[in-house]
């Protein structure tokens, strides 16, 4: 088979599934789930075949670049030149993402069937999930900025549909709205960034932009930094970077598998993917800003996570924090010359596996505890849910960065890059690593160890095979992803002088040889984090921190009041302006102008009516008066 057809199959299968479910199989839960799972699983197989056929390299061909809009009329002049293609860019970066999205996606689809099968709207759920996969794969495959923006928006809307899946619950409906609007603010910047790049370079295709910049590095001129930062706005929305991070924790109102797929592994990673895709556009100044935004996000989110009690929210803040890590890593790529953002992509990959698994584990726990999400109502789940326990443990260790789990290697790559790029970032990164270990250990100790603290935890039991199997499937790459050599694939993509892989065993110890200082700090952070957590929570019945930290703990729990700040800002700007505009419309434009016209005509009409009374005497009087006036004028 022509390999050029493979991307089309991968992209269109989930779309077909969404359409078929919506139009034809709304009545059958099993059939809908089967179609959706089948579509994503087939797409996964196709992605593997594509990877095997191209060896993870690039693929070009006429079928991969079809014309979508052509508004070129050179007879009118050179500026009337606008062509957008519907095309795919197949290279190591997109292939890696394809494998993540379809692979993790398959596991989560299967898990979903177990988790959701009692809900009455299962077909709608799977249709939305398929729509999401289609949109996400579109982002991954896009070969130009406009195509990316189109799928970017579609991802936004599928996320909206899934967060608001239980739309009758006001909190879910509000969370969906908030997520969509926050993303829209980012997309506003993204759109302007696209326009600006197009205006400066004259093309929207990634290859075209890269070629133009390779020919003339100053092609973007003085506006380059602005254009880059505007594009970064898009990433800030999707990847929930400070200060647009507020939507992600609320998004946990959606079903847990959705949180695993969209708000941990794929959609939120799209921002980081975008940054890697258009990395050439960013000037060093822009990258410095990006790095700091990432560092701030990583730090504040980690602090917020320390004081959350909802199992999904802890994971949500942890996701925020890790996304900040990745964005910071993109920032380092500009300072460490020739390095590129490969550390960010590396962490994105490993994080996708273990974070999705952690969310699914949380889903399994929630399912077992009858929709209890407060970790202080759990406890002692170790014996009751062994599979969930072990996989959750693996996920925690990977997220904390314990060697030889995958998270250690990718986190180490970021620490090493930060150490080289900016000492401030390194300090923050190390601190965040410490906090990460701390809050994850806290979650793990409180929820799984000790004794059950509630009725529902007492009666918890292991989830069925359809839910535990995906957990195991995700646990394998969570452990091993560090030694596959993904980093070398990425180094190759970004043109870094690679060291080359020396086999799995050498990879196991590579960080200590490459940048021992960073690696040692990483390990120390883990050791301290775990010890603090055990010291505080080893036998705790409730959280001791609010007492010791006082106000600061409350600020952490209340997310540093960002939501309040945002709603205040919206109130004093848009709400006020819309009030004024409505007032003007109602009372000045339609009131004064229309009623005024209407009224003046009416008054004129009434006045004229007095003249036409039909009374002969009045007419005679007016006639005489008129005569007198005329005579006066004539005789004067």
């Amino acid at each position: 088979m022509n390999p050029e057809l493979l991307p089309w199959i991968i992209l269109l299968l989930p779309l077909t599934s969404a359409v078929v479910i919506t139009l034809f199989t709304r009545g059958s839960k099993g059939l809908s789930a089967g179609i959706s799972i089948g579509a994503i699983a087939t797409a996964f197989v196709a992605s593997i075949i594509l990877f095997a056929k191209t060896g993870g390299g690039s693929l070009l061909g006429p079928l991969l670049n079809l014309e979508w809009i052509n508004l070129q009329e050179l007879k009118l002049g050179d500026e009337h030149n606008f062509i957008i293609n519907f095309g795919f860019k197949i290279d190591a970066l997109s292939q890696l993402m394809l494998l993540i999205v379809t692979g993790v996606g398959t596991a989560i689809h299967v898990f979903s069937w177990g988790y959701m099968h009692e809900d009455r709207s299962v077909p709608r759920y799977f249709a939305s999930l398929s729509l999401f996969c289609f949109s996400m794969l579109g982002i991954v495959l896009a070969n130009n900025l406009m195509m990316m923006f189109i799928f970017w928006e579609l991802v936004g809307v599928s996320s909206y549909l899934l967060i608001g899946f239980w739309f009758e619950k006001p909190s879910a409906a509000d969370a969906a709205k908030k997520a969509f609007l926050t993303n829209r603010i980012g997309d506003f910047g993204f759109m302007l960034g696209i326009l600006m790049v197009w205006g400066l370079v004259g093309t929207m295709s990634f290859d075209g932009i890269a070629a133009a910049l390779a020919k003339n590095p100053a092609a973007l001129g003085t506006m380059g930094t602005v254009a880059g930062l505007l594009i970064f706005c898009g990433a800030m929305g999707k990847s929930a970077q400070f200060p647009l991070h507020v939507w992600l924790p609320d998004a946990m109102e959606g079903p847990t598998p959705v949180s695993a797929l969209i708000h941990a592994a794929t959609m939120v990673a799209a921002g980081v993917f975008l940054l890697c895709r258009v990395f050439v556009v960013f000037t060093p100044d822009a990258l410095t800003v990006i790095g700091w935004i990432g560092a701030i996000t990583a730090l504040i989110a980690a602090l917020m996570a320390v004081q959350q009690n909802d199992i999904k929210r802890i994971l949500a803040y942890s996701t925020l924090s890790q996304l900040g890590y990745m964005v910071m890593a993109v920032g380092t790529g500009g300072v460490v010359l020739g390095q590129g953002p490969s550390a960010a992509m590396y962490h994105l990959t490993t994080h996708a596996f273990f974070k999705a698994m952690l969310f699914l584990g949380a889903g399994s726990v929630i399912h077992a505890c009858h929709h209890e999400q407060d970790i202080w109502q759990m406890g002692g789940l170790k014996k009751k849910m062994p599979v969930t326990y072990w996989t959750f443990l693996i996920g925690t260790l990977a997220l904390a960065g314990v060697p030889p789990f995958s998270g250690f290697y990718s986190k180490d790559a970021i620490l090493a890059a930060a150490l080289e790029a900016n000492k401030g970032w390194f300090v923050i990164a190390a601190l965040v690593a410490l906090l990460t270990t701390f809050y994850m250990s806290r979650l793990f100790i409180v929820a799984f160890l000790g004794k059950p603290r509630s009725e529902s935890a007492e009666h918890a039991h292991e989830s069925p095979g359809i839910m535990s199997f995906p957990l195991i499937a995700l646990a394998i790459p969570s452990v091993l992803a560090g030694v596959f050599g993904i980093n070398h694939l990425l180094d190759h993509q970004f043109g870094v002088e690679g060291h080359g892989s020396h086999g799995p065993v050498a990879e196991l110890f590579a960080p200590f040889g490459h940048s021992p200082f960073a690696a040692i700090f990483g390990v120390l952070a883990v050791v301290f984090g775990v010890s603090f957590a055990f010291a505080l929570y080893g036998n705790a019945e409730k959280d001791p921190l609010p007492k010791t930290l006082g106000l600061f703990a409350r600020a952490m729990a209340r997310r540093f009041y960002f939501d309040e700040i945002w709603s205040f800002l919206i109130r004093i700007t848009h709400e006020a302006l819309s009030y004024v505009a409505d007032f003007i419309d109602r009372w000045l434009v339609s009131g004064l102008m229309v009623r005024g016209t209407h009224g003046s005509f009416e008054i004129a009409g009434r006045a004229l009516r007095l003249l036409q009374s039909g009374n002969i005497q009045t007419y005679a009087l007016l006639f005489v008066a008129g005569l007198v006036v005329v005579l006066l004028i004539v005789l004067k």
Binding site: L71, H80, K177, D582, V594
Partner: protein, 555 residues
């Protein structure tokens, strides 16, 4: 010569005549005639759309219209008026859109329960007028058809309208639209006089004026008359307040036809007449238009955010969308103007869909106050899903045709009016998102309210009225169709207009070149002509040749 367009225009007009001859109590037959006529014209419009060949652009000669049909009407030394129809890339899409909307509007008119005969008569006149306006190449007939379509609006709102503000809305809409039409008429007459070719035929005018342009003085008077005259018909800021009010009070079909189709005739006239014939007017007035369109996009968006009535929200958002068309016009670029035409088609479908759906909600729940509605997505799955898609299309979601238009407008305007584009992007992405999602949140999401607790969708209620049952042959036909449309078929039938509008939006959204490839050639000519400043002026202003390649047809 082709009779296709003439047939298309006459089908609804003849049907109107037939309806006039049927006794008023044969309600079902009347409805059937109206539906049949709009269905046939939809078929004809699709045929015309498919037959239309995309044209290339050649700066050396003027483009020709396709499917022309010309009949001399008044021929004399001083005045020549012809019945002359034809289409080019600008009008063909609008024509198709008008036919789709007309069919959908007729299909949803089952809500009309009194005076059906007059109602359908007016609706068919409106439809014929709209077709005529988009096909006419003689400006006399353009104006005639446009008025033929506009006047029924006032009557329909006055008689079948709803809500406490009905009379006020009728005042306002009549006042504004008459004012706009008058200004435009003065402009057209002035154009006739100053062009001096004794004709209002657009082809003749274009030929004559591209050889010898209008004097600067004439252009600077006529252009604003046409721009604001037709602009008022579209709801150009600050002459927009009639639109939301009028639509909120109008019966569903009227709102669909007016907001969807008739409004576009004003924009169409600006693009067809004002831009190519008066390049100096363009140069002078476009900056003004660029500022006013921000008023539409941002200001009307804010107003929409405050609305408590769903129809008022849709109305204001519809006015806001018109801002994008004005921005496309103001950009004077191939990309921007093409985008403007795409939005005209897309918004026609979208506005019709929004009003069709809100009309359905009004008929089932009896209210459109958003705080009294809620949870409709569960109660009315089909209408609810269609509404979510419709509102998403309204806030510029890719996949629906509106996005393509807005995107093209922003791209086209970026190099000339970057500051305006910043506002447009904010309005199109953020403000529209705020009010559309608010509408979804309060109407469709959330728990059901008292009003929406017991509603369902597509419930068959009324049996066949007795008056129609006992009328012999005709009664038998009526009864046959009525029973044939029962049950599942009946449900599908009720869903059809919404599904048709949605499908068209998605079709043009996913395959924009269906429209753009047709529009491109014709717009290229408009852009070329509108940049042609008279030679004396060009040398006086700028010694370098004009930026566009104007292969000389001027003296």
């Amino acid at each position: 010569m082709s009779l296709l367009l003439t047939t298309l225009i006459s089908v609804p007009l003849i049907a109107a005549l037939i309806v006039a001859l049927i006794p008023g109590n044969f309600r079902f037959i009347i409805r059937l005639v109206a539906l049949g006529a709009t269905l046939v014209s939809l078929g004809l419009a699709v045929a015309a759309f498919v037959q239309f060949q995309p044209q290339g652009f050649d700066p050396a000669k003027l483009a020709t219209f396709q499917m022309q049909h010309k009949v001399a009407w008044i021929t004399s030394d001083v005045i020549n008026i012809n019945y002359h129809v034809g289409v080019d890339g600008i009008s063909i899409g609008l024509l198709l859109m008008a036919a789709i909307v007309a069919f959908a509007a007729t299909s949803v008119s089952w809500e009309i329960k009194t005076g059906e005969k007059t109602f359908y008569l007016l609706l068919l006149l409106m439809t014929g007028g709209a077709f005529g306006a988009f096909c006419s190449l003689d400006l006399f007939f353009f104006y005639f058809f446009n008025e033929l379509a506009l006047v029924p609006t006032f009557i329909m709102i006055g008689v079948w309208g709803r809500g406490p503000q009905k009379n006020y809305a009728t005042y306002q809409i009549t006042l504004y639209l008459t004012l706009g039409a008058m200004l435009a008429l003065v402009g057209l007459i002035a154009l006739y006089v100053s062009a001096g070719v004794d004709s209002l035929d657009i082809v003749t005018l274009k030929e004559a004026l591209s050889k010898k342009a209008l004097s600067s003085g004439a252009q600077s008077v006529i252009f604003p008359l046409l721009l604001f005259g037709f602009g008022i018909l579209v709801g150009l800021f600050p002459f927009h307040s009639w639109a939301p009010l009028g639509y909120a009070a109008a019966p569903t079909a009227t709102a669909m036809m007016h907001a969807g189709v008739l409004k576009k005739a004003g924009l169409y006239a600006i693009i067809r007449v004002a831009l190519p014939l008066m390049p100096e007017g363009v140069a002078k007035w476009m900056p003004v238009l660029a500022v006013l369109c921000v008023g539409n996009i941002i200001y009307c968006g804010w107003v929409a955010m405050r609305q408590k009535d769903l129809n008022m929200l849709i109305g204001n958002s519809s006015v806001a969308h018109m801002g994008f068309v004005f921005l496309g016009i103001a950009s004077e670029s191939l990309i921007g103007l093409t985008g403007a035409v795409v939005i005209m088609v897309a918004h026609g479908l979208l506005a019709a869909l929004s009003y069709g759906l809100s009309g359905y909600v009004y008929n089932t729940t009896g209210t459109l106050k958003m705080d009294e509605l809620g949870g409709l997505l569960r109660k009315m799955p089909f209408i609810g899903v269609a509404m979510v898609m419709c509102f998403m299309a309204g806030c510029g979601l890719p996949g629906f045709a509106n996005f393509n238009g807005e995107m093209l407008v922003m791209v086209g305007a970026w190099k000339v009016l970057p500051n305006i584009v910043v506002f447009a992007a904010w309005g199109g992405l953020v403000i529209s998102g705020i009010y559309m999602l608010r509408a979804i949140r309060s109407v469709l999401h959330g728990p059901a309210q008292a009003r929406t607790e017991k509603v369902g969708e597509f419930v068959i209620k009324e049996p066949l009225p007795a008056s129609e049952g006992g009328l012999g042959f005709l009664g038998a036909i009526t009864a046959f169709f009525h029973s044939a449309l029962g049950g599942g078929v009946w449900q599908l039938w009720r869903k059809l207009p919404y599904a048709l509008l949605l499908a068209s939006l998605i079709l043009f959204g996913c395959f924009p070149s269906l429209l753009t490839s047709k529009i491109k050639g014709s717009i290229a000519e408009v852009v070329n002509l509108s940049h042609k400043v008279s030679p004396a002026k060009a040398t006086a202003v700028a010694p370098t040749p004009a930026p566009l390649n104007v292969a000389d047809t001027r003296n």
